[in-house]
Symmetry: C2
């Protein structure tokens, strides 16, 4: 046997190692779905051993939760423009700003699709991720949208028979699912045409429902 040289142990700053693991996870999820992501598979991309993972994260669900942290705020921030605007300016103005917010949200999905898809997949398998994703992000978005719809109904911009809470929930869930479906698949970047078609369909449904 000639082998036997073991790879020399390297030692990094904890923060650096943690960043390396997060990056490895992102890189993994850009290629393979969450269901195939094992701790071993991620750590293979870092040069560290599997047990080292547990020095930084409790398990793969915590890892994926950490990946969400930056992105969640981004989504909320983008949509905030329409969401928190007042109802002055009429339907035209509201539609335009809504379209803008939707495009912003879509672009976030386009950029972070695989990670968001991973979070959404993980939410089904782990109660803590479900908490953070569904109740932390989605439900919060829904509440804000419901508020906005409420104001638009009172201002006469939207029809009075609209149930703000339920309508908001349906629209937000639609947007989440549809964007995940369109932009959340690992490694098949959607064409420009598809992107526009997706955005157009979302805009049509939202605008016709609220200001149609």
């Amino acid at each position: 046997m000639m082998g036997g040289e073991r790879a020399p142990r390297r030692r990094r700053r904890p923060e650096e190692a943690e960043r390396a693991i997060l990056a490895a996870a992102r890189s993994f999820l850009a290629e393979r779905p969450f269901r195939e992501m094992t701790v071993e598979g991620v750590m293979a991309r870092t040069g560290l051993s599997r047990p080292a993972f547990y020095a930084y994260f409790g398990d793969r669900y915590e890892l994926v939760t950490r990946l969400l942290e930056g992105i969640g705020g981004l989504l909320l921030a983008v949509d905030w423009r329409w969401l928190s605007g007042d109802s002055a300016g009429g339907r035209e103005a509201a539609s335009a700003v809504l379209a803008d917010a939707l495009r912003g949200g879509s672009e976030t999905f386009l950029e972070y699709g695989p990670v968001l898809r991973a979070i959404s997949d993980a939410a089904v398998q782990d109660p803590r991720v479900e908490e953070v994703y569904r109740y932390g992000l989605i439900e919060r978005l829904t509440r804000v949208v419901a508020d906005r719809i409420s104001r638009d109904v009172e201002a006469g911009l939207s029809p009075p028979d609209l149930d703000p809470e339920e309508t908001a929930q349906a629209l937000v869930l639609m947007t989440e699912r549809y964007l995940l479906d369109a932009f959340g698949r690992p490694s098949d970047p959607p064409s420009f045409e598809r992107t526009e078609a997706v955005f157009g369909a979302l805009e049509t449904i939202w605008v016709r429902t609220l200001y149609g």
Copy 2:
């Protein structure tokens, strides 16, 4: 020690055992989410041992796929009324039939919610379930809806700028997600009011989008 009497082995017809396992799975899913469903947990409700499971099903994903079999056809059948109707009779008629189809679909979800939720959860974890659910059921529904929208656009019932394929996908995904969210939670039967509100929100969005 006094113990030691082993439970007497019982022997059933294969078909009976298989039905017992399917029933045990349904009963399990009425109480607990799919992520907690282990082969052991299901077989404990049948009086059979864990290995017996593998005489009837390849794994728990195959089990859950079998649970879908009857229900999937039901969903397609209910929606078929609106879906396959012609575009004569104007928007009023089309809206009414659509509302009817939606109510039918909602009622199916109301009855089989936990099982459907389990399938949808399992689809995230297993490629074969994903195939059956997403591409077999959801996509098939989407295609039929897209056809109907296409005809309505040509007949002048729906606006010409509607993209039938994309709109259908968004609407079907919305309906699936929203109904799962409302009626798919194990063991919390929704109130009559909630049921009506959910149905109303769906009807509003579909009708305003297509015939608004």
